[in-house]
Assembly symmetry: C2
Homo-oligomer: 344 residues x 2
């Protein structure tokens, strides 16, 4: 049901004038270097994500299967000067994968070219067909969901880091993507906020299906229970995931929800209590095992003091995944759920 | 943005073999008798909702503007023996309004006929275009939302009854529909469970826009915070509505959520506390003003005793809207929010 992206990837960076506009590509290269064969940059491109520069012919020789649009520019439309490259990629049989607002099928002639050359056009903002209403039935396997005090506080990064750390310890773990960049990194997933509301919990069930008893699905959270625009998305994802473990993600430079007026972020212990209360509906044994902060907006020198204060306030381990790694959170998972190693 | 259905309605009952399959039509006739000119029944139809029988020509003479498919049969598909009547309705310029799963546009030739004769084909399961993410900004006017201990416990009926009672007392009130039958009754609305999850709270804001300070929007609730399949839909609707008042709807014959295994309905006071807690995010002054029970599954003779027990348990007035009416709930609204009468 979920489309699976074909690897290796050729990451297309266009001719972005601001390096951070290639952050989607940079994220893919950071988390899945082994499935990227190169970057394709048009003349004048100001970004460089550290992969070999390949043109389409070189990429084909390197075995590339998918051209990934690694650009997240404002507006989300394809630039006219990209079009010929996308057409040429379709002609060469590469799948083209995009998270842009505009559909690949709206590029004149691209649908026909892709059909003629066995290329798939994959818009990762479009949910898969065949989603169902949730059934609420408990399923085997373990699940961790990253939840937030607000949107854009590091839920994807934390989930990816937890998944990587678990696998580095020899555990069975899968990162489960719910947003467009996450889907490109994981190679599959469901853009949960684009799912019809009736099917959100069911989509979350489909995303993290029954698995081995010692297997962790580490699910990328979306939105926040405290954001008046998206809390319903968050709750549906939380219920369908049937999370065993939660990690609360927080940006300590923020005191109020961004993008709306007049919504203060509650104290962390209130946030934890509300998430656990909501999650208990579908998994009574759920617990919050730690806090992940995104400290990038605050002086790095104060981090240790801030972290200690949060640990004292909540009684839970706190890390900045970028500054500290997430070992303390995996240790907390062990304490809460037991050390479940894969046979290897 | 919201389509407005044109009245008067001609209610189409097809050739249903079970009278209750015409319950959509019966509901429209019950709540909006004044906007219905008649019923159209095919040979062998076993339902009769008490309106004059009209054929299409008689309906045109009576001024009918819309043919409403008043059938809610299992499966939700158009019966082959209905098609010619629907085509003839389009030819005569009537709008055709349907809540069936199948789209009116999938009936061969109907789209073209409708376009040629100025008839609109309106699928009330399809959300309007142009919905936005919520903005969370407080707006003027008063809003009441019916919420449930589960799905299908009388939220639509209770909202319609509250709206009617308010208007009978000379208040300003509008029923705001969130489901297909409600939309047919109200003549407009948004099928909230078909809205993309990101836009649910925004759709609820659009559905009950800023209004006069003494105007009540009585919003039809959907789903339940305690149903693991739909709680996210419920929360988005609750947040976007910014409800001032809640009425908790409950079926006292039910001890667990229907359609899923292992989800008991919490005690009523827990349900109330959870709804109020969730609703406070967007409206800190929200309060639950009463309980509406659907007693149809229990012996009528015990109703007074059950009602008294619920009132003792919750400290709030309790009615069965069908057995008792909703005057006690409107009285409770007065007590909580003051008696705000329209100038007339």
């Amino acid at each position: 049901m979920l489309a699976v992206l074909r690897t290796p990837y050729l990451l297309f960076l266009g001719d972005v004038q601001i390096a951070s506009d290639a952050k989607t590509g940079a994220g893919i290269a950071y988390w899945r270097r082994e499935q990227c064969c190169g970057q394709l940059r048009l003349p004048g491109c100001k970004a460089d994500i550290g992969l070999p520069d390949l043109d389409l012919e070189q990429a084909r020789e390197a075995g590339a299967q998918s051209l990934i649009i690694g650009v997240a520019a404002m507006g989300g439309a394809f630039e006219p000067q990209w079009i010929e490259t996308l057409r040429e990629a379709a002609r060469s049989g590469l799948d083209i994968v995009s998270g842009m607002h505009t559909s690949l099928n709206d590029i004149p002639g691209l649908t026909e070219l892709a059909a003629a050359h066995g290329s798939r056009l994959i818009d990762v903002r479009v949910p898969p067909r065949g989603l169902h209403v949730a059934n609420g039935v408990r399923r085997s396997g373990l699940r961790l969901l990253t939840v937030g005090t607000d949107c854009a506080v590091g839920k994807k990064y934390t989930a990816l880091a937890m998944d990587r750390a678990l696998r580095q310890r020899g555990r069975k773990s899968s990162f489960r993507a719910t947003g467009q960049t996450g889907i490109m990194i994981a190679g599959s997933g469901i853009p949960i906020d684009a799912v019809v509301s009736d099917f959100v919990a069911g989509a979350a069930e489909a995303l993290s299906p029954a698995n081995e008893p010692d297997h962790w699905d580490v699910v990328e959270g979306q939105g926040s229970l405290f954001n008046p625009c998206y809390a319903g998305v968050t709750l549906g994802l939380l219920h369908g995931t049937q999370a065993d473990a939660l990690v609360l993600c927080h940006d300590p430079s923020r005191t109020a929800i961004e993008g709306v007026e007049g919504y203060p972020i509650p104290p962390l212990n209130v946030c934890i209590a509300r998430y656990v209360e909501a999650a208990r509906l579908t998994n009574p044994r759920v617990r919050c095992i730690g806090i992940a902060v995104n400290s990038s907006g605050l002086p790095a020198g104060d981090h240790a003091k801030r972290r200690a204060a949060i640990e004292a306030e909540t009684g839970l381990p706190c890390v900045d995944p970028i500054l500290d790694g997430v070992d303390a959170l995996v240790d907390a998972l062990d304490t809460a759920f037991g050390r479940v190693s894969s046979p290897a």
